[in-house]
């Protein structure tokens, strides 16, 4: 086994662990942020400041009775949460978590795989993610679940279109589909958000819709659909769905920070630190700081804005965001042509 393979294996395990830990603590963070925004304290009984709360929640999830409804389609009922979890975890493979580390004279990239169509890979995985919800919702044999599943699928397809069009403008500018190259191009504070503010806003809104987060949490709206697609789920299968939502939130924060906010690049720091390994690790820390900020932003929005009505959601997606993103493509093309970047 070559050293590169060993390094990649270790990297995969580390990313996997970090993703799960962050998702776990996002549940805690969500409750704390919600509490603080509502002038409350939030969970503070399990351990100091309640930091053992996720463990308590996990134990609770495992101890709950496992119910598979009698009239449900058993295999698909189990398959639903599995797909949701798998697709949520798959995206992290193409995100560059940092520059390269050099250990023993050899340089290792802090990215699991640098496929040259990284962005399309992310899109592909995201578009498969809807199956977890759809299959789970249908297999439950419950009308609320089915309604939630149908809402989820139409919502995700609608917003995928606008998301893709927003990304096209970015790809036109950067000239590459590789996530690593896009990150590398933004070195020195040359962030894409400066050149693509409209594209960023469209991408952000679509990311909210893709993650089923408020204000677009219609697939699971508690007030109308009794939990939507996971009405019939209990125990750890429900836990998987909820967990997948937080993992998605983490991954989309990572994608947003990488595509629009410079990824692991830190402006001005490179002048003061000469050790490349330290610089790489600092860059990774900087990336995680940005990711945590966006996770906080997701929660901040959730506890600020009420849910959209379904027709408003569709209007916003099809009549608002898609024309805007097409306009964004034209504006980008025009500016690129005027500044002489393309002939």
């Amino acid at each position: 086994m070559s050293s590169a393979l060993i390094f990649t294996t270790i990297l995969i395990i580390v990313i996997f662990t970090i993703t799960l830990v962050i998702a776990m603590y996002s549940t805690y963070g969500e409750r704390k942020v919600a509490a603080f925004l509502q002038d409350r304290i939030g969970p503070n009984r399990a351990g100091p400041f309640g930091i053992l709360q996720p463990m308590a929640d996990g134990v609770k999830m495992f101890m709950k009775e496992e119910i598979i409804p009698d009239m449900s389609n058993k295999w698909l009922f189990i398959l639903g949460p599995c797909i949701a979890m798998t697709t949520a975890l798959m995206t992290s493979a193409v995100i560059p978590w940092g520059n390269s580390l050099s250990i023993g004279g050899e340089s290792y990239s802090l990215q699991v795989t640098d496929v040259n169509i990284g962005i399309l890979y992310i899109f592909g995985v995201v578009s498969i993610g809807v199956y977890g919800i759809m299959i789970g919702g249908w297999a439950s044999n419950n009308k609320y679940s089915l309604m939630g599943a149908l809402r989820a699928s139409s919502q995700m397809i609608s917003y995928e279109v606008a998301m893709g069009l927003a990304i096209i403008a970015l790809v036109m500018m950067t000239g590459t589909l590789s996530v690593k190259e896009i990150a590398a191009q933004q070195s020195g504070g040359n962030w894409n958000v400066i050149y693509q503010p409209l594209g960023f806003i469209i991408f952000l809104v679509c990311a909210f819709a893709e993650c089923n987060r408020t204000p677009f949490d219609l697939p699971e709206c508690e007030t109308e659909l009794v939990g939507g697609y996971h009405t019939e789920y209990s125990s750890m299968k429900l836990g998987f769905y909820l967990f997948a939502e937080y993992i998605n939130m983490f991954i989309s924060s990572a994608v947003i920070s990488t595509l629009y906010f410079g990824g692991y690049n830190m402006p001005f720091i490179a002048r003061f630190i000469s050790d490349p390994n330290l610089l790489t690790l600092l860059g990774t820390a900087f990336l995680f700081a940005k990711i945590l900020f966006f996770i906080f932003f997701f929660m901040w929005i959730r506890w600020t804005i009420p849910r959209f009505r379904y027709d408003q959601l569709m209007n916003l997606g099809w009549k608002g965001l898609i024309p805007l993103s097409i306009a964004n493509i034209f504006i980008t093309a025009l500016i690129m042509w005027l500044t002489g970047k393309v002939s």
Binding site: V33, L37, R40, I41
Partner: protein, 192 residues
């Protein structure tokens, strides 16, 4: 119709302006408000450790008082049970036997005294009816339980401890206390 106050607003359905239609200014305004709340002082009171200060007139769990010598004041006259609109109070009277003078103030006492806390509406009429200043409502909260039977409080829970007195001085307003102290009134006359 003429408006009674000047606070009413006329609702007009008008076209949204551009800045309203793109949602973003409103969303940013909302985010600003919630962010302010992030740093505000929290309203939570950590209940079992920190107890909220009750108002003086708060009516909570009852107490059966003892007099200054530690004898129970209640003589089982039944006035509280008659006054109770929810019929939550029941009692059985008994005659004091020889040697129990330290325990009971008068020669008749309540052998059983029960208040059903699920029926009680905490109106405070029992303490008003009591001629012996035996029953008072306090600022203590009636704790929850899983069984209905546990909510019928007997003397074990209602009578205050000899060394563990319950302070009811706020509810015992001075004018009432003074009125009840008048020695030649019927209810203050000691029978022995």
């Amino acid at each position: 119709m003429q408006s009674l106050t000047n606070r009413s607003k006329v609702v007009v359905k008008k076209e949204m302006t551009f800045s309203e239609r793109i949602y973003l200014p409103a969303i940013l305004g909302g985010l600003r408000i919630t962010l302010k709340h992030l740093f505000k002082k929290k309203a939570t009171i950590q209940y079992p450790e920190v107890k909220r200060e009750m108002a003086g007139i708060y009516r909570g769990q009852h107490v059966l008082k003892r007099d200054e010598n530690g004898a129970e004041r209640c003589t089982a006259c039944g006035l509280c049970a008659v006054a109770c609109p929810a019929e939550a109070i029941t009692m059985t009277a008994a005659e004091r036997s020889k040697g129990d003078e330290k325990l009971y103030r008068e020669e008749k006492y309540a052998k059983v005294y029960e208040i059903n806390m699920l029926r009680c509406i905490f109106c405070g009429l029992c303490e008003e009816a009591c001629p012996k200043e035996a029953i008072f409502l306090t600022d203590r909260i009636v704790p929850t339980d899983f069984k209905r039977g546990e909510f019928i409080y007997g003397k074990d829970k209602l009578v205050e401890g000899v060394n563990n007195r319950v302070d009811v001085s706020i509810r015992q307003t001075t004018s009432v206390a003074e009125f009840k102290q008048v020695p030649n009134l019927q209810h203050n006359r000691l029978s022995n």
